[in-house]
């Protein structure tokens, strides 16, 4: 979990930074997209690095989901009879957010790929420049798309707020004083990520980026 989570977190950080390039204009963003695809050429073919990244990412997602499903199934088996009344005593959102949030995020990713990667459900269509897909996608008329993104991103933030410190804990790096720092760090990191991801769609919708 921790390792696959970390891979995904790494990707997300880069992805967010990349997305922010939209603020430097369409060209900058397209260049970045292009750069991604031509990285390390000619040593690797077109989309070489990106494909490797994608494979890695895909594996991470699959393994992560597999681990999540295994854990959930073990948990179910460990408690075959449910409580009639059950009240959480910890800051208690974690279980539900992690499981149902995770599934929601997965669904979102599928849709997101169809939308912005393949352009299947995107008004700009399949054969368009990435920046166009993005800007077309978040026009005010398609406010509900933006809404889906906002919700998804907030879910991602919540998932990571717990996920990041949890990963540290799983690896045994959190002790005593450090626990507070790691938790704060996870919160800060998630907040930055959420804001960073939210900025482009909102900016487009409200016409700041055209």
């Amino acid at each position: 979990m921790a390792v696959t989570g970390a891979v995904m977190v790494g990707f997300l950080a880069l992805h967010m930074l990349g997305n922010l390039k939209i603020f430097y204009g369409r060209e900058s963003f397209n260049e970045y997209a292009h750069w991604l695809r031509t990285l390390l050429q000619p040593f690797l073919p077109y989309r070489g690095v990106l494909t490797l990244l994608e494979i890695g990412l895909f594996l991470a997602v699959v393994l992560h989901m597999w681990a999540a499903i295994t854990l959930t199934r073990r948990a179910r088996k460990a408690r075959p009879v449910k409580y009639v009344a059950k009240k959480s005593q910890a800051t208690g959102y974690a279980t539900h957010i992690m499981r149902w949030g995770g599934v929601t995020i997965a669904l979102y990713i599928v849709w997101h790929l169809l939308d912005l990667t393949f352009g299947v459900v995107n008004p700009a269509g399949f054969n368009s420049a990435p920046a166009d897909r993005m800007i077309e996608g978040f026009q005010p008329g398609r406010w509900w798309v933006t809404a889906v993104y906002v919700i998804a991103i907030i879910l991602v933030g919540l998932h990571l707020r717990h996920g990041i410190w949890s990963a540290f804990q799983t690896l045994g790096w959190v002790k005593g004083e450090r626990r507070r720092i790691v938790k704060l760090g996870a919160l800060a990191f998630s907040a930055v990520l959420v804001l960073g991801f939210l900025a482009p769609p909102l900016a487009i919708m409200f016409g700041v980026v055209k």
């Binding site: 295994t70 460990a78 408690r79 409580y83 005593q89 279980t95 690896l171 045994g172 959190v174």
Partner: protein, 245 residues
């Protein structure tokens, strides 16, 4: 004060079990929770009914025998308190209280609120000890121990094996219990020689017993009557990862 109790009744391991409602009248706020149940039981016995079976012994919060889920919280809502140390003054007159046993597959219900926690003993058997035959020990002062380490080890060692952590964990994990013992012995020089095999063996036994995995939700430490911290789980993970390499 008068209370309505909704209590899990299950006549034996094979019975499906159900919630049954009882009225507890004239409860004194100075009673402990178990004394309140004693009074209910006295009445049930005289009426020829089966009294509610529950585990208890020391009634002072140290033996770890008592334990029930009260209004959805293991050992009840008062923090750092075992069921036997919980007092009725924390409940409102007229309140409705649900009482259930620890629920986890590795803790099968024996009767009513009594569950079988022998899985904990088997986790200890797997490695929760230092191998030292009686009479073979060196002088107690032969190995000094840093005071801080001794204190931290003590904190972990105060676990009373009640099982509330398992009862509260959404995954039914026994991580806090197992980690408390691993941490206690890991922090002391006496525990070093067997440190890694101990961690590996105990965690493997915990999994074999059918407890769930830990996803760090922290419910366990919140209900733990001894406040065993999550640090112990981090320590267990460190030792386990090292041992698995």
């Amino acid at each position: 004060m008068d209370l309505t109790l909704k209590v899990w009744r299950q006549s034996g391991p094979d019975d499906a079990g159900r919630m049954v409602t009882y009225l507890a009248k004239d409860v004194s706020p100075d009673m402990s929770f178990l004394e309140m149940l004693d009074v209910v039981n006295e009445k049930l016995i005289l009426e020829g009914d089966d009294p509610i079976a529950f585990d208890h012994d020391c009634r002072e919060g140290i033996c770890g025998m008592c334990g029930m889920v009260i209004n959805g919280v293991a050992h009840g809502e008062q923090r750092a308190t075992t069921t036997c140390q919980l007092h009725m003054r924390h409940f409102e007159d007229g309140a409705e209280i649900t009482i259930e046993p620890w629920r986890a597959a590795p803790f099968p219900v024996i009767k009513d609120l009594v569950v079988d926690r022998s899985a904990f003993d088997r986790i200890i058997q797997a490695g929760g000890f230092v191998s030292v035959p009686a009479g073979s020990a060196p002088d107690a002062h032969a190995v000094p121990v840093r005071k801080e380490d001794a204190d931290d080890a003590f904190d972990a060692a105060t676990c009373i094996g009640c099982g509330a952590c398992v009862a509260a964990c959404p995954n039914g994990s026994a991580s806090l219990f197992t980690a408390a013992k691993i941490t206690h012995l890991s922090l002391l020089p006496q525990g070093q020689p067997e440190r890694l095999i101990r961690a590996k063996a105990m965690v493997d036994q915990m999994d074999a017993e059918g407890f769930g995995g830990c996803t760090n939700t922290g419910e366990c430490t919140a209900v733990c009557p001894k406040g065993i911290p999550l640090d112990t789980i981090a320590q267990m993970n460190t030792d386990y990862l090292k041992a698995s390499r």
